[in-house]
Symmetry: C2
DNA sequence: CCTTCTACATCTAATTTTTCGATAGATAAT
DNA sequence: ATTATCTATCGAAAAATTAGATGTAGAAGG
């Protein structure tokens, strides 16, 4: 039973004529005869009685009419639904590192939600490896990495930006004001860093390894807001992107250390999979993030 | 959009795999790919995201799933409906002459209704010409004629029976006991007959005309029950089938006239159109009438 | 009563659609 | 590294749909 036949059937029933239905639907009359016969054969019952030149719906035919109408109505309804502008609705799954997640939510989310109230977003966090896997399995719609500069033909970098990073310490620390430090000068200080294997932490470790150095931090924690406030209140030092430390640098609680021989490139990248279907809401979200998140 | 594609779509979505759906449905994998593509092209939107080996329903796909389920459910429901034994339901339109109608209703209807309470019947009356026209236009499902013996390749005679007919008079009339009358002996008596042009009345008139005779009845009326009771109470005579007069013959109120030279063949025939769709209820009704109505 | 018109069924042939099988490209699994 | 697996795609084969011609038969109109 195919929709084509049901449509023909409905028209024949309504017009009370094979010939008229054929003309209306742009079929030849024999085609209409065939289609109805096809239905009758499949259902194993007569749909129309043909007596002389009069066709009359049988009991079964009358029953089918009702079903056929319902079925066609559903089809139409769906197609109508499709036409509706779905610009600003839908669900987006965004995955970012912990620090970015916090920043995006506090700095921009409310504004975004106000502008596009129908786009629902799920934010989760993960490290770079997990995030890329999620893209590969279509479990994330878009991710943001803070890591080395990533290139891969399977991913589209919607936007990227190098992130300046600094070693930071409390303003009252003994490093305040010192110029031209070397990494070796601070390598034995008590460090508090983000978790091992994640994002810029991994880049950092790798860079140290190149110099045959290693740091065993006294504390590892993902939440960068906690790291910064700890550093500000202690003799601990850390290595963080400026956007994380900016508030406390401004308020004078933290200071940058002038370490010259450790220039690490950390990139912030907004990435989605090259096969990703760009719904209008995803497009909107990505454009928003490109504009707002990368402006500072 | 054809049902075939929707079924495939549902299976792909449920199994999360084109290949598995193909195996399940007995298609080749390329066919499934093609069918889904066909849907996507027609609807102008992506239904599945294909990222690596993972297919995921898009927003639109998820919407379609719901519609597709509803549509397929309707189809199934209808087919289930068909399977149900519709033996004893449906509507039948029966057309008979006045006299038969009365007899069938009083003698058999209640019994039939008790046996097949779900078959609804509409009885209407008409003369032979009207009845045959109704068959031709599928306005009557089955008719019963009391007329000359009808043959026509378009009609199926479900059952037929010759009806004995007699001239009748009141038992106390002067014809009682007379033997070997001729039609000419009674032609001038006051006749009460059924209406002109109907069934056996027409046959009767034609037969008289052959002999260059004519009767102008003093009363014409369709209702044979009225004719018989009038005859029984008066000097009127009539010409009627035995099944009509039987009760009053038995009770001795009427007597047959022994007219030898007027042997009219009147047939009772149960007829339907050769193209008539035999629903089970119609079959049942016809079988019942053949058994009961023609038994006496 | 005869002719013409209309309606549906059926047959054949043409066309279109569907399907398959093979292959490619790419990831996942071992 | 090699083998499985998965989907897309292409060309050919198969199947289904469609149209056109013809047949039959009743309806309509003169």
């Amino acid at each position: 039973m195919e929709l084509r036949n049901l449509v023909t059937f409905i028209n024949v029933a309504e017009l009370g004529s094979f010939t008229k239905a054929a003309a209306l639907l742009g079929y030849s009359q024999s085609t209409v005869s065939f289609q109805i016969k096809q239905l009758e054969d499949e259902l194993g019952c007569l749909l129309f009685e043909r007596i002389n030149h009069t066709i009359t719906l049988t009991e079964r035919g009358r029953e089918l009419i009702s079903y056929a109408h319902q079925i066609c109505a559903l089809e139409e309804e769906f197609k109508e639904n499709l036409k509706e502008d779905k610009t600003y609705s839908g669900h987006i799954h965004v995955v970012t590192p912990d620090s970015v997640c916090e920043e995006m939510l506090t700095a921009h989310y409310l504004d975004f939600h106000r502008k596009y109230p129908d786009i629902s977003i799920r934010f989760t966090t993960g490290d770079s490896g997990v995030m890329l896997d999620m893209l590969d399995h279509n479990e994330a719609d878009v991710i943001m990495t803070l890591d080395h500069r990533l290139y891969n033909k399977d991913y589209i970098i919607a936007k990227e930006q190098q992130l300046p990073m600094h070693f930071v310490a409390a303003s009252e620390s003994r490093f305040e004001g010192l110029r031209s430090l070397s990494i070796k000068d601070i390598i034995n200080e008590p460090f508090v860093l983000t978790e091992c294997g994640q994002g810029y932490r991994r880049v950092f470790d790798r860079e140290l390894a190149k110099r045959s150095l290693e740091i065993t931090p006294v504390l590892e924690i993902g939440r960068t807001d906690i790291i910064t406030s700890l550093v500000a209140e202690s003799n601990l030092i850390s290595y963080l992107p400026d956007f994380v430390t900016k508030p406390l640098i401004k308020s004078g609680k933290l200071c940058y250390l002038d370490v010259c021989d450790m220039n690490i490139e950390i990139w912030k990248q907004l990435i989605y999979h090259k096969n990703k279907w760009m719904s209008k809401s995803l497009r909107t979200f990505i454009d928003y993030v490109k504009r707002e998140e990368f402006s500072d």
